[in-house]
Symmetry: C2
Subunit: 339 residues, 2 copies
DNA sequence: CCACCTCAGGTAAGCGCTTTCCTGGCGAGA
DNA sequence: TCTCGCCAGGAAAGCGCTTACCTGAGGTGG
């Protein structure tokens, strides 16, 4: 690997001069030397060693992102927003998948700290786990103490900049719509219990239903993985255990799609017999049949805002932005069947 | 940020000793000193500076990946495979999105070279663009000359390790099935012309049809972006321009889904009036109605194999692995309507 | 004509770490 | 008791780069 010294030698100048022309220092360099250096760079196909540069000049430029899984459509969208802003500001992203493993999440925080990232974005949902939360905050504090910026997406029990999807309000909107349509026996296909996303959405739904006199019983809730297969499993269980449901809410669209496949297989008419709703408004929601009624979350914006907070000027007061959810009415939810 | 020197000072040992206990050198260190160092590490919440480490010991551990867009489901799957193997081997991934911009792709190669990545994986389709190909190969050669490993996914005009999806064979399979079902007027919704993926799939299809006496006319092909909206646009054009088609092949599933929405909106029965097929077998393919007949590509394996090649021992002979495509018959393709 | 200023270019320190090589203290063998 | 060998620990070089500081040549004003 060619080094700056090689370039300087070949151009017949000092490393200082070579460095100056290569990264456009303010210090003027004679045209002839400049050209000699540039030629040497081209000849040797020289690329500066980014690590050496980082060591020599304390200018952090890369940003670390920890998500549950980039290939999950939810995070794919969020990541798109993160990427957009990062790219606009000339920042490189290191994306780490925690696969919902708290230990791995902790490890990645260390690793990104070691990489001297300028900012660190936690884009996965928070966990209900005090031990974990404490250890995480410990590590984040250590990072922030040395000037690192942190922004989280979702509810994380971390005092600092955060952007939150209006999970609870969104769920509430959906719950109210169901009640309005006459649904009284509603089942829920929920994600993992330990995620704040799950509890927030569930909470909103529960409150909306309770306020209208039809409390959500625990036996009408199934907790599974936040993916298509989890949704299918939960739907099977729910249909067997509580056959007289008139509506099912899946706490994300992937689960809803899984549930839909089960309903179709069992020949249950949607929405005539059972209404089905999702959450997130993933691209797929509009393409299944019947098209999915769901709660739209501005996922790309979530990412974009978080990155903007993280890269913007630090602020003594933690900033918390809540991005609104909207109900998207499509075909999978209808009036409750008359008894 | 605490440094190794800080740790050493606090523990009352030399930096050398501190370094030795921190990264488990083979050189023995007395138990007492070891403990003092570890305590200091904990107290100071010390994390070694990864860049300094990389500079001091020439051990590359991160791998660079260039894809078109991680949030596209195709690349999400491929990336999952890449991630899996990388994680197994303790490698960190830097994922770069080129958004199908050749210049950005070139830039990223430079950037990853500067990052001293151990290997570089090009996971997006190749381009039909000689100037670009030449410049890319130039840069890759420079990288490889200094010991960097390169693996590409898809056809790239790059001499070196590669893993290829059987695009052409897969398309052929599909073409033959259509012919068998009596289709004679087949339209194609294609991705961007400049991508080798497009031309390979198109080529396979064209050959299968031609061999059975129904050549694919150019006016039955529409080139659009490889996404849902592109598929929808192409479908509109195709239906208007060639109303008597009995089958449409979309060159990926996203486009097929877009086309399906157009067909549904126009009230065209699928597959009774027009059969529709996709490519890739994305998760969504099974969930639309009618479920999509498509060509399955082992996307996760594609990623996993590429990473395995890149991280395995170098080999003088370029290794090219072709991963097979299989036809997945679902409901969106049926017999051609009788005239 | 000389002192002084200016400025292009070079010298060298230092970023945080690893690792080679050296040192000094100890135990063992003669 | 003396010498030698061994080994834990430290000193220092060096990874590739940036940049503060220095130098010396050329130009200016008195």
């Amino acid at each position: 690997m060619a080094t700056l010294a090689d370039v300087a030698r070949r151009a017949g100048v000092s490393p200082a001069t070579a460095s100056r022309v290569i990264n456009g220092s303010s210090k003027p360099v004679a045209e002839e030397l400049r050209e000699r250096v540039l030629r040497a760079v081209a000849d040797l196909r020289y690329v500066p060693n980014a690590h050496a540069q980082l060591l020599a000049r304390p200018h952090r430029s890369v940003v670390g992102v920890i998500v549950h899984d980039v290939s999950d459509p939810y995070f794919a969208e969020v990541t798109r927003g993160l990427q957009r802003v990062a790219t606009e500001r000339g920042r490189l992203l290191i994306i780490c998948n925690s696969y919902r493993d708290p230990d791995r999440e902790l490890e990645y925080v260390e690793l990104l700290r070691a990489q001297q990232v300028a900012a660190l974005i936690l884009a996965g949902s928070g966990y209900h786990d005090d031990t974990f939360t404490e250890r995480l905050n410990e590590k984040l504090a250590a990072y922030e103490a040395t000037g690192g910026r942190v922004a989280v997406i979702g509810r994380h029990d971390h005092a600092g900049d955060a952007v939150m999807p209006a999970n609870e309000t969104g769920a509430r909107l959906l719950g109210e719509e169901l009640v309005r349509l006459g649904h009284r026996r509603v089942g829920v296909i929920a994600g993992p219990r330990v995620l704040t996303t799950t509890t927030d959405r569930l909470g909103g739904l529960r409150r909306a239903l309770a306020e209208h006199g039809c409390p959500l019983h625990d036996d009408r809730i199934r907790y599974e993985g936040f993916d298509r297969d989890g949704g299918a499993r939960a739907a099977e269980q729910l249909l067997d255990a509580v056959p007289d449901l008139t509506a099912i809410v899946a706490l994300n669209d992937s689960m809803a799609v899984g549930a839909l496949s089960v309903l179709r297989r069992r020949g249950v008419a949607v929405p005539e017999r059972i209404s089905l709703a999702g959450f997130d408004d993933m691209p797929i929601a509009a393409d299944v049949t019947p098209a999915l009624t769901t709660v739209r979350l501005p996922l790309v914006d979530l990412g974009a805002r978080a990155m903007t907070l993280a890269l913007g000027p630090a602020c003594a007061q933690p900033r918390v932005e809540v991005l609104p959810a909207t109900l998207v009415l499509r075909d999978s939810v209808g009036a409750a069947p008359s008894p």
